[in-house]
Symmetry: C2
């Protein structure tokens, strides 16, 4: 298992962690000053500054991506909506390519309209079929662009509105169905926040293997947790066995970044510099 | 599949649904007036009125139990705590017997101390082993008393503090290990709120079969859900496919109650009579 205590070469900052503090170009600048070598930006952050400008800034600073957030949200109430989702995913792949990302992270979606409190239907089986079909269709363009797709299973508390794939097992079943050759073009993003609770976690990480393990996201689960979406903890502040899970990932052949992704109303209120410095410290001490 | 539209013979009220409105004896009286034939009370509610008095009231009204809530919370920081939990579970079995319950529901517990924000350890594997050992030990007394134990998998968002068994599959694995003969003395309580999201739900219900399916709890998942514990919806107000899941249960041989269990800061503020009347109406129309 890699020793993270001596440096933070393997640290990536998912830029949603500091999205309220600064625009993406300022975040990248702050990362460069701290010798943070990787980020994982969100599309809205990239669009706000401009794709070409961010691509140039990455080249200038030598910072690379550990992933690009995000494609997905495949289910829709009608054919037009399904087609629009596919268009948007092709666009996301092209942007990921421009930024030199090693993968496009997929938050697959679930009951259409549920995010705004008005689900168009409640048949989660239908949503799962639409997700499966959406990934299959998107995989063609991904292969053509050599841009791997990383399915991110989300926590079951987000199953109604954000993702109807909620376990590594389910994500890997889809990978096996659509990419039986393990081409490296379809895998998973393992975010500890979403999957730490799973009694089958170690076994499914081992099953995934290096061809499927495309990303490792870290943060922590607080007790108590006060919000379903925006109360994630800083690494070390909660009960997730970060080092144990990273150990399983590395045993299975994962050698990539540990990407800090903390959606938190508390951490969004602290200064950018402070949050980045603490991420570095915790990366070395507890991840 | 049974037709619930004509009457509410199969309705049970989990009395936590109206726990803030009235003491248990008043709840039982209100149920009797509405010809609700089953309840599932919580131990604290029984203790507050008195075990003997509740037992007598049940005999007088002819109301029976669909379950007794609850045993469990097996993990502990030390030997004394583990032993105390076993004592408490034996006591719960004896109370369930006195009340003529068909089963004792187990909320198995997880990281000890997490409920009060101070987990004694964070090794969920250890908690799972302590749960397994605790159920094994408790099963001896349960068999001696002919009181079936119903393991209730809780939603993964409650995995740190309330239950480290979070899927029907995990619960059934434990049943198979401890009761391979399917004696009827160890099974599961299937609460739709906790398990609706599971892509393996239909398959695991079928696997369980009639010997293992000891209870069906119903409520609904709201979009959005604003609290991890106390924002459950009334049946019909959310996105859970209640009738589909009940259909799977009945196909697998379940012929018991549909027990309405709604932890909700909203519903706890409405009058007892109104909540019971709406439960009856929704039982007939959407369950």
């Amino acid at each position: 298992m890699r020793d993270f205590s001596g440096n933070h070469e393997a640290l990536s900052i998912n830029t949603a962690t500091v999205r309220r503090q600064a625009p993406l170009d300022a975040i990248i600048e702050a990362c460069a000053r701290r010798d943070i070598r990787m980020i994982s930006p969100w599309r809205d952050q990239v669009h706000a500054v401009g794709l070409a400008r961010i691509a140039a800034q990455l080249r200038d600073t030598g910072i690379t991506l550990s992933g690009y957030c995000r494609g997905g949200f495949f289910p829709a109430a009608d054919r037009a909506g399904l087609a629009a989702a596919l268009d948007d995913n092709r666009q996301a792949i092209d942007e990921a390519k421009t930024l030199g990302s090693p993968c496009l992270v997929l938050v697959v979606g679930s009951l259409p309209g549920a995010l705004t409190g008005t689900p168009a239907y409640s048949d989660i089986g239908r949503a799962r079929q639409e997700v499966f079909d959406g990934i299959a269709a998107t995989l063609d363009h991904a292969r053509a662009c050599a841009m791997p797709l990383a399915i991110e299973p989300l926590h079951p508390m987000l199953a109604a509105d954000r993702a109807c794939i909620n376990t590594l097992e389910h994500a890997l079943d889809i990978c096996d169905a659509l990419d039986p050759a393990r081409s490296g073009m379809l895998g998973v993003a393992a975010d500890v926040y979403h999957i730490w609770w799973d009694a089958k976690l170690a076994a499914q990480i081992a099953r995934a293997g290096p061809e499927r393990l495309l990303a490792l996201h870290v943060c922590d689960w607080l007790v108590p947790t006060c919000d379903l979406l925006n109360d994630r903890g800083m690494m070390g502040d909660g009960i997730i066995e970060l080092r144990k899970i990273r150990g399983w990932m590395e045993e299975a052949g994962y050698a990539g970044a540990a990407e800090a992704e903390i959606f938190s109303d508390r951490w969004w209120q602290r200064p950018l510099a402070e949050v980045l410095d603490i991420c570095i410290e915790r990366h070395r001490s507890v991840v």
